[in-house]
């Protein structure tokens, strides 16, 4: 990262290289730019949504180094060198990611605006479960972890996905979608 000289007629900016969905993107970014706005307005990756810009709704969730983060609370300059995966980067060509497939099959969305965030968040939470991370809904944190990590149930899903709001009220269909996705992952 090389902060450029602050000139009166331009905003402080940095030349960075972002790795998004496996592709290196060299960019001159405003130092104030969030990862979310950089994805949407600079890279035309508009699948990642802006619902609140304050880390309160989860619509902007992406994966950074495999972990789910709110891209609205992440500055683009802070994730140079990290592997960033957005909803556009989940499918394998025409083959949907199992989480995307499960959301489709279970009708786990209505308007679709929170959906990319729900899906990225689910990918993140499945990885967390696989590592055996407990949640508030885990009854016994000393025995959560079998060889495959935490086996999710409905309450685990509801708890672990509560950072992603949906105003249409499609939650009830997302829960089985997440359970399906974990089952698919283990097959």
């Amino acid at each position: 990262m090389s902060p450029s000289e602050v000139r009166p007629n331009s905003a402080p900016s940095s030349s960075i290289a972002l790795s998004v969905n496996g592709r290196e993107r060299a960019l001159e970014v405003d130092n104030r730019a969030s990862l979310l706005d950089t994805l949407r307005e600079r890279l035309d990756l508009t699948g990642t949504k802006k619902g609140c810009d304050h880390g309160q709704c989860g619509a902007c969730t992406v994966l950074v180094a495999g972990r789910r983060v709110n891209s609205c609370l992440t500055l683009a300059v802070a994730v140079e060198g990290d592997e960033i995966v957005t909803v556009e980067g989940l499918s394998d060509g025409d083959r949907l990611h199992p989480v995307q497939q499960a959301f489709l099959e279970r009708d786990g969305f209505q308007c679709g605006y929170c959906t990319p965030g729900q899906i990225c968040s689910t990918v993140g939470l499945l990885a967390e479960a696989k590592k055996g991370w407990p949640s508030h809904a885990t009854a016994d944190v000393s025995h959560v972890c079998g060889p495959e990590g935490v086996t999710l149930d409905e309450n685990e899903v509801r708890e672990r996905l509560s950072g992603n709001l949906c105003r249409c009220g499609a939650y009830a269909n997302m829960v089985p979608a997440v359970l399906d996705a974990q089952a698919a992952e283990r097959r």
Binding site: P8, N9, S10, A11, D30, R32, A33, D37, R40, E41, D44, T46, G47, K49, K50, G51, C52, D53, H54, Q56, C57, A59, T86, V87, E88, L90, L96, Q100, F103, L104, D107, F109, Q110, C111, G112, Y113, C114, T115, P116, I119, A137, E154, N155, V157, R158, E159, L161, S162, G163, N164, L165, C166, R167, C168, G169, A170, Y171, A172, M174, V175
Partner: protein
């Protein structure tokens, strides 16, 4: 089997799960500028001076639009849209300037540097039933009569052995679709092109062309994917006007999106409501009087009267009835449409009152409602096209296991929890408005359906395809669907639960006419054979009848004695909404409505800060909507309902009926669990904790 009634998956599902579905803001024409709104920081008064100098000197800033340099706009009947037309400020959060810059970051920072000084006057922000400026509006939203008086309520109340007299309130409720309101505006000469987050582009075009004095044909508005609306994207909002005005003045395309915070001031919300309910009944449970006096607020610049007492006019047979609406103009943002306007707060009040009456009478709440089932619409005297409220109540009671219920409150303890169950009834109008549609047959066997419907998440795109396929007698996969564009045949906005019925009728008419035309056409030309339909005459010729969807909601509530927290492990909704055209998407509407109703009952609260003269809520931290962990598995069922007196689609609309009765069912279940009657939503722990028995 007909393609209608099949649970087809959403046509645009793949785009939505892969992120390729584009919403209004997600387009950047070459040369586009970003707009950022500056909002007033006073609630009443005038702008003294705006100093844009510093902002204009900042990097990338191209223009600052204020009342002094904005275009003059026409009044299209909505003063909310007369942005930047004067010094006058009537509520906190009104638009006072718009900054245009090359990037979002530049626009945002410059907006913070626009200096505005005001001459402030005292603001009036307190709604009460004794406010001296309360008045009777000429009519309510949707042109319902302000007052309706039948018989002598006072006499009936005085004579009845059992009466209920209670006041219920609902706080202001903010729609909060996940997609913030947004517009991309671009002028081509004197033609205006908008990508707008709207529930209906024809309505939007009507408004925009009036505001700018343009012929409608020179305005094109598109909304391919809309991230929810719930009423707030029904009327055109200031974002569209600001973008179009700014793009005109700077000669470049302009894109604008509200922040979540701006949405609380500039996109409408449900007025807070106060409902004074009085019920009188004979000892056998027959109602002799129903009185519902509703109070709400409007803003100083625009009147939108929530029709809170209107559903009460159609629910129960009672010879003496009184329903009234009074409002006061307060220096708060302008109320507008939110899912189930009128029905949602009104049924919370009425159905809570009915629950109180059932307890006072010692009659089961399901039976009390059935006992007071009217034979005809009590308000109009017209026949119901169909009314299966009783069927919903009976089927729901059976499925929920209601018969085993002990009516006594506060007697079921499960560890640290008190447990109870509640019921409420629902009603929502099954309306229809004229629409047009075009279907084109092509020689390759495919058909194109063109209808300016809007899919705000309801599944509209899918169901209009099914209706077209059904009308032509072909598979759904033979239909290419085009919606969400004023270039298409004009159609109803997605709202008031009338979309599918309105679009569907036009589609069925076009389909039938196309089949006829095909019989006399030996060879379909390569350009296709088109038929355009219009249902204006049919809609106007409908016989007058009372057309409504009905439903019954059953809820189990558990109240934590330690904290007063309410959780709902179980919800059931049984609905009679005519023919269900797509069970998959209809179920989603019912479940989504019930989820929003649950959110209203337990979480959503708006608090006016009298010192700041505004709502203290402005984001998802200060305005909690139901999250995953708040929502149980929701059980939904519907009755097969054939109604030959509604539109030929046979459907009554499912967008709102799932929401409207939910809050009362939750509140009634909380009473049954605890014996505490919460008459002011939401049911937060502080309203219960002090009255709960000790957990130990």
């Amino acid at each position: 089997m007909s393609v209608l009634g099949r649970p087809l998956a959403r046509l645009e599902g793949r785009e939505k799960v892969t992120g390729s579905a584009r919403y209004a803001f997600e387009s950047s024409p070459p040369g586009v500028l970003y707009a950022w709104i500056v909002q007033s920081t006073i609630a009443n008064g005038t702008i003294r001076e705006i100093d844009s100098g510093e902002a204009l000197g900042m990097p990338g800033v191209r223009f600052v639009m204020t009342w002094q340099n904005a275009l003059a706009l026409n009044d299209a009947g909505d003063a909310e849209l007369l942005v930047l037309q004067s010094r006058q400020i009537s509520y906190r959060g009104q638009v006072v300037a718009l900054v245009l810059a090359e990037t979002l970051e530049q626009a945002r920072e410059a907006a913070a540097q626009v200096s505005v000084t005001y001459d402030s006057e005292p603001a009036d922000v307190s709604l009460s039933t004794t406010h001296p400026r309360l008045y009777a509006p000429a009519y309510t939203n949707a042109m319902f009569a302000t007052d309706s008086v039948v018989g002598d309520v006072e006499a009936a109340l005085g004579a009845a052995p059992v009466t209920i007299d209670a006041t219920y309130s609902t706080p202001a409720a903010f729609n909060n679709p996940m997609e913030p309101h947004a517009t991309v505006a671009e002028w081509h000469g004197d033609d205006l092109d908008l990508l707008d987050a709207t529930q209906g582009t024809n309505w939007a075009r009507e408004t925009i062309s009036a505001v700018f004095g343009l012929p409608p044909e020179s305005v094109r508005i598109r909304s391919q994917h809309v991230g929810g609306g719930f009423g707030s994207k029904g009327p055109t909002r200031p974002n569209a006007v600001l973008a179009a005005m700014a793009a005109r003045l700077v000669g470049r395309p302009v894109k604008i999106a509200y922040t979540r915070q701006m949405m609380f001031g500039l996109s409408g919300y449900r007025s807070p409501t106060i409902s004074h309910i009085r019920l009188a009944a004979e000892a056998d449970g027959r109602l002799t009087a129903v009185s519902h006096e509703a109070f709400g607020q409007v803003s100083p610049i625009q009147e939108f009267v929530e029709q809170t007492a209107v559903p009460t006019r159609h629910m129960y047979a009672a010879p003496n009835r009184l329903t009234t609406h009074r409002v006061v103009a307060l220096n708060l943002p302008t109320p507008s449409y939110m899912r189930g306007p009128g029905e949602t707060p009104g049924l919370y009040a009425l159905e809570s009152g009915m629950d109180e009456l059932a307890a006072a009478l010692g009659i089961d709440p399901v039976e009390l409602r059935i006992l007071n089932e009217p034979a005809i619409d009590p308000e109009s005297g017209e026949a119901f096209s169909s009314r299966n409220l009783v069927g919903c109540l009976r089927r729901g009671a059976e499925r929920f296991g209601w018969s085993a219920r002990d009516p006594r409150p506060a007697v079921r303890r499960d560890g640290r929890w008190l447990v109870g169950t509640g019921v409420a009834a629902s009603i929502y109008p099954a309306d229809v408005v004229p629409s047009t549609a075009r279907i084109t047959a092509y020689p390759n066997g495919r058909f194109e359906l063109a209808v300016n419907a809007t899919d705000i998440g309801t599944g509209a795109r899918t169901v209009v395809m099914q209706i077209a396929a059904d009308s032509l007698g072909v598979e759904a996969s033979c239909i290419d669907v085009r919606i969400g564009d004023t270039a298409l045949p004009a159609a109803a906005p997605a709202g008031a639960s009338w979309g599918t019925a309105s679009w569907g009728w036009a589609i069925m008419k076009a389909g039938a006419a196309l089949l006829e035309a095909l019989q006399t056409t030996p060879r379909i030309p390569d350009s296709g054979l088109s038929v355009l339909s219009d249902t204006a005459e049919e809609v106007a010729a409908m016989t007058k009848m009372a057309r409504f969807a009905f439903g019954a909601q059953f809820v189990e509530a558990r109240v934590d004695l330690e904290s007063g927290e309410v959780t709902v492990p179980r919800m059931l909704g049984v609905f009679a909404a005519g023919r269900i055209l797509n069970p998959r998407t209809a179920r989603a509407q019912f479940v989504g409505g019930m989820t929003m109703g649950l959110s209203m009952a337990l979480h959503e609260d708006a608090v006016v800060d009298a010192n700041a003269a505004d709502y203290a809520n402005r984001d998802f931290a200060s305005y909690h909507i139901a999250a995953h962990a708040d929502v149980p598995d929701i059980d939904v069922e519907w009755l097969d309902e054939e109604d030959g007196n509604i539109t030929p689609t046979g459907g009554k609309g499912v967008g709102e009926i799932g929401m409207v009765g939910t809050a009362a069912a939750v509140a009634n279940a909380v009473w049954h669990a605890t014996g505490i009657r919460v008459r002011d939503l939401p049911i937060h722990p502080d309203k219960l904790i002090e009255q709960l028995p000790s957990p130990y």
